[in-house]
């Protein structure tokens, strides 16, 4: 278990001071695939490097299995890192790279050899054992970097955007591979990425970060379906933000009035603490459906239709001028075919829109 408490990192002094981490607290459980997700500059990599020991926080504490690790240099922390550029040692072979950590720990030669073979097998690189690291492809370097970091059996594996340099297809394969490795080894993975899709598909839990703070922590479904605030809703997936008026609150549910006057239901009232009156309603493009004029809760002009193969995106300009995006799966028996320039109605699935503070 990694207990991160009130960690703040300030770079520079005085006016030019920059808070890379701003009072971050989070507990990462054992055997968890935990992802730090956020735009570049949000502090996710700084947090990772603080756990690894390459960044000294200005204040706060980090405990690993109950022990304070902030006083230990990187080489005394039982964590290993997969670097963004892999950082393989160019003057060593694949097998020598994987053996490095074990040798530094002073493991007996036979054990080192056995573990290296096991790791080569785990990442399916056995035939490449004696290659120089410059002679293998990017995807293979990625596997070697993983094997090298896993070989000493760290309590925690830190991964710093390890898939960002791979092409699309390879990235998809490695996502599954990483998940498999995490399940097979039972090691806690802390994964840093700015790619929301990567985060959603692999993680047990995700911490969404922005401007040095953790904005929301939860499973992929929680974060996608119930974003805690506008930033999270905006950063993860596509979201339509609608100005609404809250009419009635029952527990977490609320009855709201849309700009056009129609009413619908939403959730998140308790968490957002909106109270009555003006609020923002966040709805996902797939939670809305195009309907003939008069049948929906909103109306507008279909300004653009973009075909994506499996689904189609419809961009609608609402009566009050706001933009609204819908996503519908393309099925062979599509009931209504709408074309650009049509006046359309929009149906919102009741109770799935999320009320937000701000």
């Amino acid at each position: 278990m990694i207990a991160i408490e009130n960690v703040t990192k300030i770079y520079g002094e005085g006016k030019s001071a920059f808070r890379a981490l701003d009072d971050v607290s989070v507990t990462i459980k054992d055997n968890e695939f935990f992802t730090l997700l956020g735009p570049s500059g949000c502090g996710k990599t700084t947090l990772l490097r603080t756990i690894a020991g390459f960044v000294d926080p200005s204040s706060g504490s980090i405990r690993l299995g109950g022990k304070d690790i902030l006083q230990s240099p990187p080489y005394k922390r039982p964590v290993n890192t997969v670097f963004q550029n892999y950082a393989l040692f160019p003057h060593m072979t694949v097998a020598q790279n994987i053996a490095f950590g074990l040798e530094m720990l002073g493991k007996p030669k036979r054990e080192v050899k056995a573990t290296v073979e096991e790791m080569l097998e785990l990442v399916r690189m056995t035939p490449m054992a004696d290659r120089q690291t410059g002679q293998i492809s990017g995807g293979q370097q990625q596997r070697v970097a993983l094997a090298r970091a896993l070989a000493p059996r760290p309590q925690v594996l830190l991964l710093d955007e390890p898939l960002s340099a791979l092409d699309f297809k390879l990235r998809k394969d490695m996502q599954l591979e990483l998940k498999r490795l995490q399940t097979e080894t039972g090691i806690t993975f802390v994964f840093v990425t700015h790619d929301q899709e990567e985060a959603l598909t692999m993680s047990d839990r995700i911490a969404v970060m922005n401007a040095g703070k953790i904005r929301q922590i939860g499973g992929a479904r929680d974060i996608y379906d119930q974003p805690a605030e506008r930033f999270v809703a905006d950063f993860i997936g596509d979201t339509n933000f609608l100005d609404v008026e809250v009419l009635e609150i029952t527990g977490d549910a609320a009855r709201v009035r849309l700009a056009g006057g129609a009413e619908t239901t939403a959730r998140g009232a308790a968490e957002a603490g909106t109270g009555m009156g003006a609020a923002t309603l966040a709805t996902r493009p797939e939670h809305a459906r195009l309907v003939p004029v008069g049948q929906g809760v909103m109306e507008g002009l279909l300004s653009q239709v973009v075909y994506f193969g499996t689904d189609t995106h419809y961009h609608v300009t609402l009566s009050d001028g706001a933009a609204f995006t819908l996503r519908q799966q393309n099925t062979p028996d599509m009931a209504h075919a709408f074309t650009q320039g049509d006046r359309v109605g929009i149906h919102l699935a009741p109770g799935v829109g999320q009320l937000l503070k701000d």
Binding site: G53, F54, P74, F83, H91, L105
Partner: protein, 266 residues
């Protein structure tokens, strides 16, 4: 689109370039050619012969000076390279510190101070030490050479260190290597071509030095260049050409090796 400025297309460029190369290399070519002269003139060709090479090879003064030059150059370049590695580490692998710029300038100082000034100051300084200790051995020359060789060794090493991927050292540290182990197993092997290049550059610079050596040496401590200078004051024979040609060959070999070492394993 405007054509980029191409200096090769300017009138007179080719003749000027040829003239420059001729001025640079013609004297050297003549020196090499006359080292094979059968006669004893350095300007009158009397046929091909290797006699001056044989004569230089058998000349005991040349032998002693050659050995002395190589000993001084080896010891001085070893000292200078060690100091340069430490200096390069201290100016690239630490957080920026107060006075770093000044120290950087001081490391490179021998490049900027006129050599004659360094020579005179060393002469006076070593004279004081000689009076105190009575020691008159080769170490004065070795230390003097080491001092002015440091910046030459420092530059390629520092360039190599700066070009090195810092995350490699972090990765080693992350994999339980202590700072010393990281240096030994990761930094040093990566740095090796730079160190070798620096050492060779220092060696060539030391081998070649006249001014400082002339001032610092005690009686009977001629190096090859100061011996040749002394010969020129007496009767000049193509033996000097032969020695020069041999030195040139040695330098070319070292420089070519330096070139390939600094290019490979990037």
């Amino acid at each position: 689109m405007a054509k980029p400025f191409d200096i090769r297309k300017q009138t007179g460029f080719t003749p000027l370039a040829i003239l420059c190369f001729v001025l640079l290399y013609l004297p050297i070519i003549l020196l090499v050619v006359y080292s094979f002269n059968a006669g004893s003139s350095i300007a009158l060709w009397e046929g091909f012969s290797l006699r001056w090479y044989a004569s230089a090879w058998e000349n005991e003064a040349v032998q002693a000076a050659t050995i002395r030059s190589v000993v001084i150059a080896s010891a001085a370049s070893a000292l200078a390279t060690t100091a340069a590695v430490l200096a390069a580490l201290a100016t690239t692998r630490v957080k920026p510190w107060r006075g770093q710029g000044a120290v950087f300038a001081m490391i490179n100082q021998p490049l900027m101070v006129p050599e004659i000034v360094t020579a005179v100051s060393l002469l006076i300084f070593f004279a004081m030490i000689k009076v105190q200790t009575g020691y008159t051995g080769l170490w004065y020359l070795i230390l003097a050479h080491a001092a002015f060789c440091i910046p030459f060794a420092y530059m390629p090493i520092r360039a190599r260190l700066q070009g090195m991927d810092l995350t490699l050292e972090q990765a080693a540290s992350d994999l339980y290597a202590t700072p010393w182990q990281t240096f030994r197993r990761i930094t040093l092997p990566q740095l090796f071509p730079g160190i070798l290049a620096g050492a060779m550059l220092a060696f060539v610079i030391s081998l070649d030095d006249v001014v400082i050596t002339e001032f610092v040496k005690s009686a009977g401590q001629d190096t090859l260049p100061t011996y040749m200078l002394g010969q020129l004051r007496r009767n000049i024979t193509p033996e000097v050409n032969a020695i020069s040609t041999a030195l040139l060959a040695a330098s070319i070999i070292l420089v070519v090796a330096f070139f390939f070492l600094s290019r490979t394993r990037k």
